[in-house]
Structures are given as structure tokens and as C-alpha cells.
């Protein structure tokens, strides 16, 4: 109980003290995670729709591959992006290694299969009568696509929440391609890893609580949106 009180106290004092290192990590975490989620949604929703809606040769294989990528380890993604962005890699000239953009690329790769698989699942579970009803009302293909996305909004919101949770809490990508540079690419998760390495367990756990509070805030906003849609 004493340890827990100490951790909680440390978390509050860390935030209240306005420690620039902590606030920089929080800022970096929120900025890069949100940008990565948006990129995953922009790329993943149309891809998931096509995978769930269209019938083409190799579709089932692609579906299985997407499901498999849900288990992609973050360190593997980190390694992959590191290889691509390192000096000798194919994208080395972009000088993105050890930047927040590099972390964003890795986190987008992490979130993409989640958004694609869950969107595909939503579209697949829309009843056959959905398509017939819309066609019977006079909707063309583009209108059917937009209506499908709108009708799947609760599922898509769930996909966004799931992907954000995974992106927000990953450490492998941020560590490998971000480099954990203070005031620059240090995120909350890499800061926790660092503090734990130094034996500062209470600080590490306090940062963990901050991360949890961010997740709670995001989920509360999404729940509000969901409730508003249902009214």
C-alpha cells in the first residue's frame, strides 16, 4: 500500500512539477501515436473495405495474411523499419532514422493490420440484404461504399480503439528506430524502460500510470462519440 501511495504521489508530482523531460515524453507519445493511428485508419479502412467487399482470386490468402500480421512483434517491425531507414538501407537518404517520423512509420505498420482485419470483418458481417436494400433504394457503388463505412462506424470505432491501444503502449519500435533521445524521440514507454534500467521503479510505474491516464482519456472521448451516435 505504501509503495502504491508512493507511486501515485510520484506520478502526480511528476505532472505537477512540469518536469520538461516528462512533458516532452508525453507530448511525443500523444503526437506520434495519434498521427500513426490516423495514418492506419486512412490506409486501413479502404483496404479493409475492399478485402471484405470484393471477391477476387487470392482474397482468402490475403485475409489469412492480414490476420497473421495481427501478431506482428513490435521489435520485428522496429528492425524492419531500422533496416529500411538506416544509412545503407533503401530509404537511408531520407534521414528519418531516430526521428519521430521513423517511429510513426513503424507504428503505422503496427496499427494497419488491426484496422484492415477489423474493417474487413465488419464489412463481411453486413448482411446480404444490406446490399440488396441499398441497391433497391437506388444507391450506386460509391454511395454503397460510403453507407457501408457509416453503417460500420461502431465496429470501426472499436478498430480505432484497439489499434490506438497497441500503438500507444508499444516500446520495441520507439526504442529501435527512435533511439530514446531525451527531448526528441523519448516516449513514455521508452522512458519507462530507461527508468526501470536505472532501478527507478517508482518513476517507471508513475510514467506507466500517466500512459494509462492518456488511454483512459482517449477511450472516454471515443465512448462519448459512440453514445452520441446512438442517440
Amino acid at each position: 500500500m505504501t509503495l502504491f501511495t508512493e507511486i501515485l504521489g510520484r506520478a502526480v508530482s511528476l505532472l505537477a512539477s512540469g518536469d520538461p523531460g516528462v512533458w516532452s515524453a508525453i507530448r511525443a507519445t500523444v503526437t506520434v501515436s495519434t498521427a500513426s493511428l490516423l495514418a492506419s485508419l486512412v490506409l486501413g479502412i479502404p483496404a479493409g473495405f475492399l478485402l471484405g467487399y470484393c471477391r477476387f482470386p487470392g482474397r482468402q490468402l490475403l485475409r489469412t495474411l492480414t490476420d497473421t500480421l495481427l501478431a506482428l512483434p513490435t521489435v520485428f517491425i522496429g528492425l524492419l523499419v531500422y533496416t529500411l531507414l538506416s544509412r545503407s538501407g533503401p530509404l537511408g537518404e531520407l534521414n528519418l532514422l531516430f526521428t519521430l517520423r521513423a517511429i510513426g512509420i513503424g507504428q503505422t505498420i503496427l496499427g494497419l493490420p488491426i484496422v484492415v482485419a477489423l474493417t474487413c470483418n465488419q464489412v463481411e458481417h453486413l448482411d446480404r440484404s444490406f446490399y440488396i436494400s441499398l441497391k433497391g433504394l437506388g444507391a450506386d457503388s460509391g454511395q454503397i461504399l460510403l453507407t457501408t463505412i457509416f453503417e460500420s462506424r461502431f465496429g470501426l470505432l472499436a478498430a480505432a480503439v484497439t489499434a490506438y491501444g497497441r500503438i500507444l503502449t508499444e516500446v520495441g519500435i520507439s526504442m529501435m528506430v527512435g533511439g530514446n533521445i531525451k527531448y526528441h524521440t523519448r516516449t513514455i514507454t521508452t522512458a519507462i524502460a530507461l527508468e526501470t534500467g536505472k532501478g527507478e521503479f517508482a518513476t517507471g510505474m508513475a510514467l506507466g500510470l500517466v500512459l494509462l491516464a492518456i488511454a483512459l482519456l482517449v477511450n472516454s472521448v471515443l465512448t462519448l462519440i459512440r453514445n452520441r451516435w446512438q442517440q
Binding site: D127, R128, S129, F130, I132, S133, L134, K135, G136, L137, G138, A139, D140, Q143, T147, E151, R153, F154, Q230, Q231
Partner: protein
């Protein structure tokens, strides 16, 4: 006058099975056309083709003399379809009704039109605020119909519009459908199991059986374990009687026998006539387009339909409750080889 629809050489396949075969069919403009047929006959498939939900595998559909594939979006949208299991959008009732109007860019007097359509199906204007998950099954079907009526379509195609709703709701829906015809001159094509209702309201009827055009009277489809005995196909009926028919000229017996209603000849029991079966008349109904009557018969647990001249019914007192002898005319017995409702996705 150019027909509303003209179908030529239609074949529609689903999962490798041909579920619709129509060489030629013309549906007249105006009025109400009824589509009759048992489950698996291809009614829903035909309606979906007429509603241009998807094109036929082969063949052409002319709508008011024009190839349906070349219709402009505006012309396509003059055709509105209510499927058997309509999907309500996950939004409010009013938003569901506004959806079709928005597709057509009709924003003027939207609220008034929505109110009018809700009123037509017997729902108050305040009902528009309800969400999709707050509706009962019957209410959802009425809202789905209102979402079509609000569009005031030139052609309205309805697949079992009153299935699964209580009598009061069904009556309101029927009234709304007939109002559409009177108020906007909407041409209606309706498939329904409610044969009595269709007979009352339809100006013409089309019969479908196994995906082919047939008599508007669907006849008697009898499934079960048929046994071959000395060139005759025999089926034991639940009540103990045996139905014996001339077997088909095939090696194996099909799963179904089809007996035309006219092939069931009725006799009074006191007359010394050969009788294949005995049954009880349970209902006598008027048959449109002819002076004959339709008699529903209970025969050892089976419900069969026979037709008889009104004079014959009167003279012999074939009224409900009377037990009659039945002879089956072999000329009216068919052995369809491909009835399989499980193969038909839409019926």
C-alpha cells in the same frame, strides 16, 4: 402500348445452379402484377432482376422498351425495391426515410414527405425520432415500406411485404400500397404468399415454378419418401392413406411430385367411382380470371388444392366440412427433377 418490362432469354445462375429460366415475359404498364409460386420458385430472384439489383447471367431486360443496362441513373432510381428482409440503416426512422430522398437530391419539403409516408403506414410523425434498435419487427417492416413510399416511385417492387407482421399492420401496409397506386400511378409488382390478398388486388398474375413461368396457381408440390412399386410411385401419407401416381420415366425417383390443381377430380362419396384418395374440403375460394372455384382439401395430413366448376361445387355440395373422393388424373402429374430450394439463395 410498350410493356413495363419485357424479358428475353433470361437465365440466372447462382453458385453454378440455374435458378431462373424465362424465355419470354412481358409485364404490362400500370396496375398491379402479382407474382405467385412456392418457396424456391425463383420469385425473389426475378424481383431482384426487375429491380436492377444485379443483371441476369444471360438475356435482356427491357424496361419501358429500353435496355435496362443503358438506363440513366435517374431512370434506374424510378424503380424502387422492398426486399423480403429489408435492412434498416443504423440511424433514426426519419433518417432512414430521408436516405432515399438524399440519394435523389430531393431536399424540398423533406419533412412533410417523411411525415406523409409515416402516416401512410399508420405511424405518427413523432415516430421519426425513434432509433433503429427501438423498433419491433412489424414496426421495422412498416418503416422499410415507408422508406420506399416516401420516394413516390414510378415502379414499386415488393417481395413479401406483409410477411411476419400482425394482421392490423398488414392491413395498414396493404392500404398504403394501394394508395401509392391511386395517388401517384405507381406500377406495382408484388410477390406474396398471401394468395387471397393477391387475387383481390392484382390486375394480372404471373406464376413461377422451379424458376420457370407456370400457372399462377402453384399447384401441389408433394415431397417425401416415394417408393417404386410395379411402375407406380407410392407415398404413404401421414394419416394412413397411400398416394399412388404413375412413376416418371427415369431410373431414380425425384424427391418431389407436382400435381396440377385441375388434375384432382372430386366425387361424392356415395357415387360408385374409382377413388384414389379421400379428403375433406376445408375452404372454397373464388378464382379470378375464370368461373372455377379453388377448393382447399385436407387429405391425410396433406393440404392439397383442387379446382372445380362452380356448378359442380353447388350440385355436389362440396362445401367446407364435406368429405369427398379424389381421383388423380395422370396427365396433370409431373416429376420435376431439379426442385431444390436450398440451391436458391433468394427464395
Amino acid at each position: 402500348m410498350i410493356p413495363l418490362y419485357e424479358l428475353e432469354g433470361i437465365r440466372h445462375r447462382y453458385n453454378g445452379n440455374t435458378v431462373l429460366r424465362i424465355d419470354h415475359l412481358a409485364i404490362e404498364q400500370d396496375g398491379i402484377t402479382g407474382l405467385l409460386g412456392p418457396n424456391g420458385a425463383g420469385k425473389s430472384t426475378l424481383l431482384a432482376l426487375l429491380a436492377l439489383v444485379w443483371p441476369p447471367t444471360t438475356g435482356t431486360i427491357l424496361c419501358r422498351g429500353r435496355d435496362s443496362r443503358q438506363l440513366a441513373p435517374g431512370e434506374r432510381r424510378s424503380i424502387v425495391f422492398l426486399p423480403q428482409d429489408p435492412w434498416l440503416l443504423r440511424r433514426s426512422v426519419a433518417a432512414n426515410l430521408a436516405y432515399g430522398l438524399a440519394l435523389r437530391g430531393l431536399k424540398e419539403k423533406q419533412d412533410a414527405r417523411i411525415e406523409e409516408a409515416l402516416d401512410m403506414v399508420g405511424l405518427p410523425a413523432a415516430f421519426g425520432e425513434r432509433q433503429w434498435y427501438q423498433l419491433s419487427g412489424g414496426e421495422a417492416r412498416r418503416v422499410a415500406l415507408a422508406a420506399r413510399l416516401v420516394l413516390r416511385p414510378a415502379i414499386l417492387i415488393l417481395d413479401e411485404p406483409t410477411a411476419g407482421v400482425d394482421e392490423a399492420s398488414a392491413s395498414l401496409m396493404v392500404e398504403a400500397i394501394l394508395h401509392a397506386r391511386q395517388a401517384w400511378g405507381t406500377s406495382l409488382i408484388i410477390a406474396s404468399h398471401d394468395r387471397d390478398w393477391l387475387n383481390q388486388v392484382c390486375d394480372r398474375r404471373i406464376g413461377l415454378l422451379q424458376g420457370r413461368l407456370g400457372s399462377p396457381l402453384p399447384g401441389n408440390l408433394i415431397s417425401g419418401r416415394w417408393k417404386m412399386e410395379s411402375g407406380l410411385a407410392t407415398r404413404r401419407l401421414p394419416g394412413g392413406q397411400h398416394l399412388v401416381l404413375k412413376a416418371p420415366e427415369t431410373d431414380t425417383l425425384p424427391a418431389w411430385a407436382h400435381i396440377e390443381p385441375g388434375a384432382l377430380q372430386l366425387h361424392r362419396l356415395d357415387k360408385a367411382t374409382r377413388q384414389d384418395l379421400q379428403g375433406t374440403v376445408i375452404a372454397v375460394r373464388h378464382q379470378p380470371d375464370s368461373g372455377d372455384l379453388i377448393l382447399d382439401l385436407q387429405v391425410s395430413g396433406l393440404c392439397l388444392q383442387a379446382t372445380a366448376a362452380a356448378d359442380q361445387v353447388r350440385t355436389n355440395n362440396f362445401w367446407p366440412g364435406t368429405t369427398v373422393g379424389i381421383t388423380v388424373d395422370p396427365a396433370g402429374v409431373h416429376w420435376p427433377d431439379d426442385i431444390d430450394s436450398s440451391k436458391n439463395p433468394s427464395d
